[in-house]
């Protein structure tokens, strides 16, 4: 029995290697290719920019990005919305009902503003700021 111990160890190791290999192959063939986002490290930002082509400055971006009307809902939100709502609550309380002027840098079509309007009763004057309809 004792003499079989190294053999069993070897077999167990091979099993682990096999399962990891299968996992990696599965991830690469079935996982990675199906993912909406894929990331590859690059030596520098410049190299990544060269590989990306137009990237964010591509003329095609706004056309490719669907501009669907936002139907704000508090159900099934991604996790990062919770900190956003917390931040908005704190900012609103600090201003005590006064106009809240918000800069959304890189905010695309303004989805955050739609959520702010829907759940924080924030209205939009045409000067580009968000303002509260009621104090909290």
């Amino acid at each position: 029995m004792r003499s079989l111990y190294p053999l069993n160890m070897l077999r167990a190791m091979l099993q682990k290697i096999k399962s990891w290999g299968q996992y990696l192959i599965r991830m690469y063939i079935f996982g990675a290719w199906r993912r909406p986002d894929r990331y590859r490290p690059r030596k520098s930002f410049q190299q990544a920019a060269a590989d990306a082509g137009g990237g964010y400055l591509s003329e095609a971006i706004p056309e490719r990005t669907d501009v669907k009307p936002v139907a704000p809902s508090l159900a099934k939100l991604p996790d990062f919305f919770a900190p956003f709502f917390t931040m908005l609550s704190i900012a609103s309380m600090d201003k005590a009902g006064q106009t809240l002027r918000v800069l959304d840098f890189g905010g695309a079509h303004g989805d955050y503003a739609e959520y702010a309007a829907a759940f924080f009763q924030i209205v939009f004057p045409l000067n580009g700021t968000w303002s509260k309809r009621n104090s909290m």
């Binding site: 990675a32 993912r35 909406p36 986002d37 894929r38 990331y39 590859r40 490290p41 690059r42 030596k43 520098s44 930002f45 410049q46 190299q47 990544a48 920019a49 590989d51 990306a52 082509g53 990237g55 964010y56 400055l57 591509s58 003329e59 095609a60 971006i61 706004p62 490719r64 990005t65 501009v67 996790d79 990062f80 919770a82 900190p83 956003f84 917390t86 931040m87 704190i90 900012a91 600090d94 201003k95 809240l100 002027r101 918000v102 800069l103 959304d104 840098f105 890189g106 905010g107 695309a108 079509h109 303004g110 955050y112 503003a113 939009f124 004057p125 045409l126 000067n127 580009g128 700021t129």
Partner: protein, 136 residues
């Protein structure tokens, strides 16, 4: 909203209630809140918007959906959009540098521990952060 020329053009064409600008400097007056959600990692000079006087004067600076780590790590991101693929240059940003930059004018008020799955780069932390202006 501060965006690329394409988004600004697209946003203004839709004539919505949110103001679209291509530069922070173009926004009239001061801001109460500056939001950077999923944007800094796509900028080679990510320090510039965080250093802008209007941002540093804001009562709250909110950062989210931004992968951060111990060191700067450039990447190429491929995003499937419809039938095509758009590529972006980006980088995992050094968290300590962001904190050092902001802490001269703001104090960390709240943060969350959220991971961002980055495919081959693994799970990277992308902590939402609420920074409040010192003395406010």
């Amino acid at each position: 909203m501060v965006e690329t020329e394409q988004y600004v053009r697209s946003g203004r064409e839709r004539a919505g209630p949110v103001g679209f600008y291509s530069s922070i400097s173009d926004i009239p007056g001061d801001m109460d809140v500056a939001i950077f959600s999923g944007v800094l990692q796509y900028m080679e000079d990510w320090q510039s918007p965080l250093s802008h006087p209007k941002v540093r004067a804001a009562n709250i600076i909110y950062i989210s959906r931004t992968p951060m780590g111990a060191r700067y790590l450039p990447f190429l991101q491929s995003v499937r959009q419809g039938a095509g693929t758009v590529k972006y240059a980006g980088a995992i940003l050094p968290q300590h540098e962001i904190e050092e930059m902001l802490s001269s004018t703001h104090a960390m008020f709240a943060s969350w521990w959220l991971d961002h799955d980055m495919d081959w780069l693994g799970a990277v932390t992308a902590p939402p952060m609420i920074w409040k202006k010192r003395g406010s």
